[in-house]
Amino acid sequence: MSVDVESDTPLLWVLRDHFQLVGTKYGCGIAQCGACTVHLNGAAVRACTLPVSAVGTKAVTTIEGLSPDGQHPVQQAWNEVDVAQCGYCQAGQIMTAAALLAKTPKPTRAQIDNAMQANLCRCGTYHRIREAVERASEKMTKS
């Protein structure tokens, strides 16, 4: 599958409109809310302001690709803690958390707060996000 898009098209809209990978969400369009977080070579980036021409040969991982079956340790932790209310921001939260834990498997509370600070949750599920990141960290460092 391939698509023709203008080079300034943000990765977000290529994913959503052209590949119909809609797990990556639009929330603000100005890299403030984090709902569009994806991984670029493993680092969390905002797809809403990243022109697709800047992707180059770097690997893009979306929430759909985080694990083949939705069973990445972060996803498992999210399910176990039952984090979501409306759920709209959670894919972005998970991608931010997964990038954090890949780099810092045992983050301190301050490191968790500083990383997850980048993602807004309008429902206010922040306590559970924190708890789920801690739980995912335990899973990833145990196995």
Partner: protein
């Protein structure tokens, strides 16, 4: 906005391939058909319908339909739990399907007013109990044993005497053929097995794996997309439109004007966004273009107006104030607020001559359909509306404006179209929480008893900004409550816990001051008022004194009231439920840090412990965040904050611990979507007063002077 960095004349295209070698390696997985198209389940052909809510498959899978819009209140899990409880279903075999709008099958298919569970509690229980009864009767006939000798558990009918059991799936066909009983016995609440347990959100695995669930995720082959340029200033209208440049942009199918809207229709979002910026639209004022400075002046002046709409009058308030030993007068004000659900407004519409298809997120699908029917001159029964999951609502999606736009556009362009709002569209295109100002007055006698109470509320498009029968009405002998509403071009609407989201702050901040002026403990002061309402009520008392007292006492115990420093108290009754809060501020290195909020909530029976806990926490976080930061101001009719860079929402680091306790009183559920929010602002402000000696009278709190050293969140 991000779009401003564009060079619109640039026509450089990039070919992207999903596989390696095309310049872009996409790490997602193909071949997952679920990820490519949205599928809204509305019926199950292989199952037997028992009633509107419930069908049982011969494969023993039980499908429970959840009719109400799901926006994070977790109704899609808690509704089916209620049905499954009375059915004695095995929850592992229950599948939940979001029902489309169907007024023949369901009543009150809407989300608002914290009313879904209170309204549906009994009918959901009956739906489960009715099917259970029929399954028992089927087993009784099959085994030739009296139905009284049978029991149900975990999705089976059991005959203990002969050690026989049959699954509901095995019995479904026989049971379905039996007459539906008109009366069924419901369980005793003490026998509940599922209700009250922590049950995980049924959509959670789909949420965490990015499945298409939301309105914005709806795509259909051949559909067009559109964005609409609406007047940026409330009180203005279109004078002229030049769409030449926009129409010439790649991927743009059409530019259509209707009412004061200019819709750019195309094939992809980014092309539409770019083209929309090239529209040349002249607007002209058709009324006053209002600014926040005008509103501030108007609200202050209105508090002194000679006449107002009387809301409640008890006793002789003027005489009480004349005889008072002490009079306390305070004023409180809040700004407009946008709702900001994280999923912006959107809707899909396909209008055809003989039928209309609508798909998307709405809190009021029935109203939306009826309004579309009126707009298009089509009978409502020709219109279908499928509900997606809602990426938040907070009251914004009670209005059907964005559904009507999509329908009108589809009827003009004669094509299926999804209309999407940007965040800026959303924040500039209200319906906002109205700006309101209050003046409270209390008259104390020489012993410190509150013998007179006055409240005037003035607001902009606020309707009645008071709740004249709420506490402390009924507890004060001489009382006067009135209000004034100013009309404006700025559109307003219900915002989570309408009116009480700020009124509670004002009232509970005021009562805190009055208690101290009276030389009384704030908790004891409130309890004394409740005692007065119980023993010697004045006029009608429309809140439950005992329920309010119980949450006050529970919050005081849990929060360590009387044994700790820097605590703030607040209690509020809204939408049938009662919530009291104690906020605790801690002094750390000279800073005043909000450490913890203790919550006592009485919403009657808690259906889902896991969902209810988060509902309360979420409400507190919402109340806290907006009280501190939420501020929408206007200049010449236009909202000045248009995205999250200038409109601040609370973030993870800033939330205190929230310790939630539910009153277990066995009352039928009374709703929980909103009641935890209103008390938060005052509990927090009253606690910070204890720590800093400063009272806050306006929201957002960040507007106040002397906020140095006040901090949300742990100090790192």
């Amino acid at each position: 906005m991000a779009m401003e960095t564009l060079k619109p004349t640039r026509r450089e295209f990039l070919k992207l391939a999903a596989a390696a070698g095309g310049g872009l390696v996409l790490g997602f997985h193909w071949g997952d058909s679920e990820a490519t198209a949205m599928h809204v389940v509305t019926s199950e052909a292989t199952t037997l319908n028992f009633n509107s809510y419930l069908s049982i498959g011969t494969d023993n899978i039980i499908t429970i339909f959840s009719p109400n819009p799901e926006l994070g209140q977790n109704i899609k899990t808690s509704f089916p739990m209620i049905v499954a409880e009375e059915l004695d279903a095995d929850w592992a075999n229950v599948r939940v399907a979001q029902a489309a709008l169907d007024t023949a099958r369901f009543e009150r298919q809407l989300t608002g007013g914290s009313g879904a569970i209170p309204h549906s509690w009994e009918r959901l229980r009956k739906a489960g109990a009715t099917a259970r009864h029929m399954l028992v009767e089927a087993a009784s006939a099959k085994w030739q044993v009296p139905s009284e000798s049978l029991r149900t558990e975990s999705g089976k009918v059991w005959h203990d005497a002969s050690v026989r059991a049959a699954t509901y799936g095995e019995l479904a066909a026989d049971a379905r053929a039996l007459p539906v009983p008109s009366e069924v016995k419901l369980k005793n609440k003490k026998d509940f097995k599922l209700i009250g347990q922590p049950v995980r959100n049924v959509d959670h695995p789909a949420i965490v794996s990015g499945k298409p669930l939301f309105g914005l995720d709806f795509y259909r082959e051949g559909m067009l997309q559109a964005m609409i340029q609406r007047p940026p200033q409330f009180g203005s209208k279109i004078k002229s439109v030049d769409a030449t440049a926009a129409k010439a942009m790649p991927g743009i199918v059409d530019v259509v004007q209707f009412k004061n809207n200019v819709a750019v229709v195309g094939k992809s979002t980014w092309q539409i966004l770019k083209a929309r910026k090239l529209l040349k639209i002249e607007y002209e004022a058709e009324g006053t273009l209002e600014s926040t400075s005008d509103h501030d002046k108007l609200l202050k002046e209105s508090l002194n107006a000679a006449s107002a709409t009387l809301r409640r009058k008890d006793g002789d308030v003027e005489a009480a104030f004349k005889s008072a030993a002490k009079v306390i007068v305070r004023e409180y004000q809040c700004p407009f607020l946008p709702h900001n659900p994280l999923e912006p407004m959107n809707f899909f519409a396909h209008v055809q001559p003989d039928k209309v298809e609508l798909v998307g997120p709405s809190q009021t699908p029935d109203m939306a359909r009826n309004e579309v029917a009126r707009l298009l001159g089509i009978a409502p029964d020709k219109i279908t509306l499928e509900l997606t999951r809602l990426g938040g609502g907070f009251g914004r999606r009670l209005k059907a404006d964005y559904v009507l736009e999509a329908a009108e556009l589809s009827s003009i362009i004669k094509a299926p179209v999804k209309v999407t709002w940007t965040r800026e569209d959303d924040m500039m295109g209200g319906s906002y929480r109205p700006a309101v100002r209050y003046r409270f007055e209390a008259a104390l006698d020489a012993r410190g008893a509150m013998i007179g109470y006055k409240l005037r509320g003035v607001g902009i498009n606020s309707g009645n900004p008071t709740r004249e029968d709420n506490f402390p009405s009924g507890a004060v002998e001489n009382l006067l409550i009135d209000s004034i509403e100013h009309k404006s071009a700025i559109t307003t609407g219900a915002w989570r816990a309408p009116i009480t989201n700020f009124l509670a702050f004002a009232e509970q901040s005021f009562l805190d001051e009055v208690a101290m002026e009276a030389g009384q403990d704030p908790v004891q002061f409130r309890l004394a008022l409740l005692n007065q309402a119980k023993q010697k009520p004045t006029g009608s008392v429309k809140y439950d004194v005992d329920r309010m007292r119980a949450v006050i006492e529970l919050a005081a115990i849990k929060g360590g009231w009387g044994s700790k420093r820097n605590l703030g108290f607040s209690v509020y009754f809204s939408h049938r439920s009662y919530v009291a809060q104690v906020a605790e501020v801690e002094k750390i290195d000279g800073k005043s840090v909000l450490k913890k909020i203790y919550v006592a909530a009485d919403c009657g029976v808690v259906v889902n412990k896991l969902g209810a806990l988060q509902q309360v926490r979420g409400g507190v976080v919402d109340g806290l965040g907006h009280a501190f930061y939420g501020n929408l101001t206007f200049k010449d009719g236009a909202a000045e904050q248009r995205n999250f860079n200038t409109f601040r929402l609370i973030r993870l680091k800033e939330v205190p611990e929230i310790d939630v306790h539910f009153v277990d009183n066995g009352i039928d559920p009374t709703g929980l979507g909103e009641p935890a929010l209103p008390p938060t602002g005052a509990a927090v402000a009253n606690a910070f007063f204890q720590a800093t000696g400063k009272r806050w009278y306006e929201q957002p709190f960040v507007k106040q002077q002397g906020l140095e050293g006040v901090q949300l969140g742990a100090p790192w």
